[in-house]
Structures are given as structure tokens and as C-alpha cells.
Point group: C3
Amino acid sequence: MTTSVRPAHLPLGEIRGGRLYGQHILSVKQFSREDVEAIFVIAEEMRTMVERVGTFDLLKGKLLANLFYEPSTRTSSSFTAAMERLGGSVIPISEVRYSSVSKGESLPDTVRTLECYSDVIVLRHPEVGAAATAARYVRKPIINAGDGIGEHPTQALLDLFTIREELGAMDGLTVTMLGDLKNGRTVHSLSRLLAHYKARINFVSPESLRMPTEIMNELSARGMTLSEHRQLDVVLPNTDVLYVTRVQKERFASEEEYNALKDAYVITPDTLKAAKQRMIIMHPLPRVGEISMDVDDDPRAAYFRQMEYGLYVRMALLAMVLGKA
Amino acid sequence: MTTSVRPAHLPLGEIRGGRLYGQHILSVKQFSREDVEAIFVIAEEMRTMVERVGTFDLLKGKLLANLFYEPSTRTSSSFTAAMERLGGSVIPISEVRYSSVSKGESLPDTVRTLECYSDVIVLRHPEVGAAATAARYVRKPIINAGDGIGEHPTQALLDLFTIREELGAMDGLTVTMLGDLKNGRTVHSLSRLLAHYKARINFVSPESLRMPTEIMNELSARGMTLSEHRQLDVVLPNTDVLYVTRVQKERFASEEEYNALKDAYVITPDTLKAAKQRMIIMHPLPRVGEISMDVDDDPRAAYFRQMEYGLYVRMALLAMVLGKA
Amino acid sequence: MTTSVRPAHLPLGEIRGGRLYGQHILSVKQFSREDVEAIFVIAEEMRTMVERVGTFDLLKGKLLANLFYEPSTRTSSSFTAAMERLGGSVIPISEVRYSSVSKGESLPDTVRTLECYSDVIVLRHPEVGAAATAARYVRKPIINAGDGIGEHPTQALLDLFTIREELGAMDGLTVTMLGDLKNGRTVHSLSRLLAHYKARINFVSPESLRMPTEIMNELSARGMTLSEHRQLDVVLPNTDVLYVTRVQKERFASEEEYNALKDAYVITPDTLKAAKQRMIIMHPLPRVGEISMDVDDDPRAAYFRQMEYGLYVRMALLAMVLGKA
């Protein structure tokens, strides 16, 4: 499963011309299928470069302000690594809860200050819409690294890039999403990106944690084939991509529902006996028991490789918004 | 207002010779007018370089220890950006409240340790005199980035540099300082630097938050023209630089005084109708309501540009103390 | 005492061949005397390079993930400086207590994620065995930067390197370790490294804080000459290296014992009257009163130089595990 089928490159002219140059990355909704393909072509170039030479000086002299209003080791580290592998530098700002911000400074004032020092701002914020708000006040590109239960577009792009690198194509695949589909922004965003392709999606969740109706309607209107289930077993055999998310106990309707369902949402080697040989298991991480560690050595377990693909996608986005791709 | 009149350079020989090389930056009191001019010549070279090429390798291979005993996103980020734009690297140390220091290590021991790893130390500390104490124990340059209600010399220099870049000259200007003039170290330090020039200062504050008498006396003794006011309106029409600071409710003598005066200390577009067309509004930031966001688009609003000038001044100071200017 | 006698280099071929390349650094027990010598030869090359040129690009393009589950300004800063002086970059991860880890992510998952972004992982963790656990899950080198009361191998190596650089040879020296020898991992690890040499060790501690019997037995079995004492005065005159550690009040058996002994474990200029002229005083720092600040200017006080030697040892280890030494 670790081999990847690399599709022929799009004509480079289209990309070099500067798609995304100077733009904010706020939502998956802003991307056309062509945008997504352009990002992935660059991401794959990044993969090749990292595998060959580790780092290179494409963004030498550029500064990234990595502004995290809530901690996220994974996302923060990934952007830091992406910038540094491109030869750029990072201003880490992760103490905001103790700092001028907690003295009451507004988000617009903070980003306008950071824009004076840096070339691009990565923003993680607990409130929905924060990245869009910030973007209205600055001329330097803002990359949304998660705004509450809102968007996390780079996560959705890396999820889709993982599918492409692992399975070679996205059209015609069956994707099964499992767990808390109501509150999980990653499954919302990935679903929207998959709507660019002829993917079929199975949503498997407890009744109380179903994919929101408005998103279901949006996806249906875009011609996707969707189905909903309470149990994984009926859909697993035809699944190409099993996307597992965390189910937090406190989000169930009742203790009874939680106890009745929790084991159905834990992936073990036993679960996978019913799965295809050529399929992948994904998870946005961190996981807390939804996938047994016994699964990790199965070649279908793609969740750590997924982290690595994230590096390439973020390198691509940084290079593109800074006009260097 | 964004245009800047750049005065003819001082003879470069004077500066290249190494003014400030190896020196600590502890207080505005250590600077002669010639020192200030020399710093500004270099700061302007930094501005030109950043605008043209973004970063350059003047301090490649140099390490800055960025030691913050209390958080200050703005100052910390600004020094980080300054060092990185000069090609140097930064050791961020902002967790000191949890670390060896909170295990009781003395400031001298901490800076002597950091001196083993780095080439220059930027120090922010809540206690007055901390930077001077630290400087007695190390041979590498210490830059005071704020010691309690004491000094914050790089802030005062960037304030003055802002005036110079925005208005072209400092002699003969009328500067009005507004707000809490008793506790604001920025207005104390800037006043002292302005004493090198034939500036006139109007102090506008509540009775209980007046500029301290000893500073007034010091400034008068140096030949400055000073006046004190409770209201802004009488002095605004002749003001070239309006320097606004925060007035914290809890520092007023009484609730009555606060309610009576607070609106007089908030700058709105209405306030500015009485101001000159060619003047600037400054603020050390963060602001919390002292200047309405409606003012931000007025070309006279210089407070975000002020942040950018801070980058150039800090780049200049780092280069100078490391002997590379 | 600051002069160092640099022994003739080992044949470079032996080292260049790649000793330690790709290996984890988990415990002092993994090192033969030849390993230690090889590390020190490289560390001394690092010292020469830093003194001559400050930094160089040996690890340009390499990324270090600096993963600290508990704060340690000194160790964290030292590794950061080591990597940056070698031209590499650092991903600082010191907020783990607030982050995905505190959401319950396992150490294996965290290091497997970081391995996707970085080339080497430095790990500080409060639990004994954490580094060894992490090492089982990743292919990139893990460097143990302290795991609870377990190991801190780079500290022991820098301690030994300090002795070598300050006194020129390690065979035949008399080393006196003072303080809490029961809980101090630094004295445990250093003792084990000294067993490679014909050093004699005096252990001076309160009865309740003696060097653990199993370590004493291990050292005896390796042929070392050991002796135990309650007071320093009898052994000080013959001591070449006095290694002082902290004695925490709460670790004494009783208030009486603490009051009776505490002054015997504080080094003052008076104490040193009985010491040789050519000897050194070491301390892993931070100190809290075990060595009077009045001793700092004595040329025998090596504890700040010890910090600097730590930089060279960590540079050597990073270069070696990354195959660039």
C-alpha cells in the first residue's frame, strides 16, 4: 500500500502562472477541482524534492508567523517543518492566551501587527470564522489552520492527497466515514472536496452524531451518491477508504447509547478481515482508542503516512501563496 | 502620510567604526543625540534592504537568545523577525515561569548559561533593573526588552524613528502625549529621547495620572517646552504627533473621575476633525478602545506602520551590538 | 584552569566511518570507552569550529524535533543552539502539556508523527524508560534528553568532556561527588562513564541520600576504587574534580538531619582553601545555594564552562547520529 501511482503532471504553465499567489486559504469551498489538482501537482514535486534532498531554498528569506490561539502540536509542527524544509523561517506565537491577546487585543490588531514582520500568517483559532475575519484586515496571505468547528482546509487537502498518493485516483472510489460525523470538521471538509470527484460516501455514525442534514443536502445537490448507516459491517467490504474519527463519550445522547455502540466504532485486526486487501485506513489523529495499535503494522494503515503527506501539501500551499511554486 | 523624507546620511565612517559594538542596550539615557542618529541611519538602511530583498545574511551564524520572563507577543515576535531577516537564528525561551527559573535559579545564572550558547541576549523581565543586573554578569550584549515599569529603550527608539520617517524631522515638532502618563514607561522614555531635539510636549492626562514631577523637572532642566492639560481639545490643533496610551480604569482615583474623563481619552474620526492634515497618531499597542477602529483607515493613523518601523530599529540594534552594521 | 590540554586525535577514519550513525542515544550504558573517545574527538572539532567561525552548514537542511514533555530551559536551549550552530533547523514542541498529548495521545503516536516531519528527535519526558519506548516505534534517531530519574546521557557525556577539556586526562583522577547521590541521575550516569577510566570516586552524602547499593556494586565489579563519606573535609585535599549536586530539604530523613548537615554541603571560598590549586568544581545547574556566588570568580569554578562544553558535545552527537561527523 505504500507504493503510489503518480498521475501524469498537468501542464506546468497553468500552475507556474501563479494560481493561489497572494491568496488566503480559508475554506475548502474556495477550491475548484482544477485548484485541487494544481496543489497536488506541486505537493508531489515537494515530495520528490524532500525524498531526494531533504530541504531546498525556495522560500529562503520568507517569514511565516505561526499564530496559534489554541495548542495543536501536530498542525503547528507540520507548518513549521514545511516552512523550514523550504528554507524559510518561522515566528512561533503559541503563548497567545497569556499575552497581549489575553490583555484584550482584537484579532484584527494582532494580525495587522504580525503582517508588519512576516510574509504569510498561519492562524489557528477556537472561533468559527476567525480566519475569514483576519483575512479582511491584512494584505499578506492568511492560511486557516482550523477555526473551531468551522474549517480546516489544509487537513482536508492532505486527506485527499493521501487518497490520491495511496490509491492513485479519486474518481469512483467508495469512502466510508466512521464516528462522530456531526462535530467532526475534517469529515465535513473532506466530503466537500470529494464532491469534485465521482466518489461514493458511506456515513457510519450513532443516530445522535449523524452528518448534518445541510451538508448531506449540499453533497446530494452536487450529484454525490451517499448512504447512512449505524454499523460498519455492511459497508466495509466495498470500502476503498475507511476514514475513522474520534467518538467522544460526552457527545452521545445517553450512557446507554454509548455503551451499546462504542465497540462498533473501534477498528481492530479482526474488523479488517472483512475489508479489501487494497484499501486504506485513515484518521486525522490524535486517536484515543478508535483504532487499535495492533492495526498499525497492517500495510493498509495509512494514518502515519497521512501525516507525511500533510507536510508536502503544506509546503505546496506555502510556496503557492508566496508565488514561488 | 506614508511618504517619508529621508535626511542625508551621516558620514558612514562614524557608524561603521563600531558605535554600540559589544555594548548593552539598557536605557534610553545611555544614548546621545549622535547615537540616536547613528541608529536611525542604520535602521533606514535596514528598511531599504527589507523593502528590496526581504532578508539578507548580515548576521548569518549568529544566535539570539530571546529570554522572556513575561509574555509579550509583539516585542518577542519583532526581535525574532529582526534576527531572522538578518539571516541569524533565535533560541526562544518563553517558558521561564515553568522552568529552571521557577525552580529558583537566579537571573545571573540563567544569563550566564545562555551566554554559553548565544551571541546576544534579549531580556524581558517584570522587575525594574533586571536588565542592568543581568548585564553585570555577562560579556555578550544584553538588550533590554522591557523591565517592569522601568525602561523599554527599543520601544522609545522605534517611536522616535516613526516620527522621523513619517514627518521627516524632529526639531521643532509639537508632540502631545495622552492618557496614563504616570505609569506609562513608553511616554517617559520617549520624552527623554525627545529632549535631544527642540520638541515641545503637551501632556494631557487625568489629574491622578500626571507625568511624574521628577521627569517633568528633568525635561525642563534640559530646556524643553512643556505644558500640562486635562483635555485634548485645546492642544490638538497645533499637534504634529499625538501619542495615545491606554488608560486603565483601575488606575483612576475614583469611579467618578473615570466616568467623567474616559470619553475625552478616546480618539474617534470626530476627534480628528480638529487636527492638522499633516500630523500622525501613534500608539504603542495593544490598544483596548483608546483609538476607535474607525480611525484606522485615516492616513494619519501611524500605529501599524509604527510596528514596522520597530522591525527596522531592532534590526539596526542587533547588527550594531554584534559589530556588523 | 581554563586552558585545555587537547590529546592527539584518534585516527579520523575510525570516526568518519559512521560510529553512531542512525543510532538512538538512550543511555550511557550503550557507550564503550572507544565510543566516548570518538564523541569527544568530534566535540573538540566542534569547539574549534565554533571558536573560529561560530556556525557552519554541516547539518543544513536537517530538522530537529525538540520534544519536551516537561520544561528544561537549559537542555532545550542547548540542543536548539547546537542544531542551529550546525546550520540545521528546530521544531520546538514544548507545549505538550496543553496539546494533543494531554488529550490522551500516546507517546508512540506522537513520535511517529514527528518522525514524518523531522530527521532527529530529542525527547525529554518525566517517566523512566520513555526514550527507550519511543525508540521502539521510530526509525529516525531519538536522543534521550532526560527521562525522569532514569537517564540523561548527554549530561553525563558533557560532564566527562568537561573533565577532559579542563584537566587533560581522565585516567587516575580523583572525583568527589557531593550532595543527594540517591536521587541524582547525573551522578549515577557520570559514575558509569568514569568506570571506563581508572578514576577513583569519593561519594559524600547524608546517610539517607547515599549512592544506591546496586550502582556501587556495579562500579566495584568494574574495578573502580570507591569510598563513602558523610563530610567533605577528609577527601577534599586530594580531589581533582568536585561534583556538587543539589540537596533538597524534603529529601532528608528528618528536619534534624537537614539542619545538622546542610552547611556541610555548601561550597564557599572558605571551603576551597583546603582544595588543590589545580582542580575543578562542577555542578549540573541550576544551583540553589549549594555553591556560593562568591566562588564564581575562582578559576576552579568550571560550572559555567561546563554549559559551554555541553554545546559541543550535543553538536557532536547530532552530527554523528545524522551521519555527518
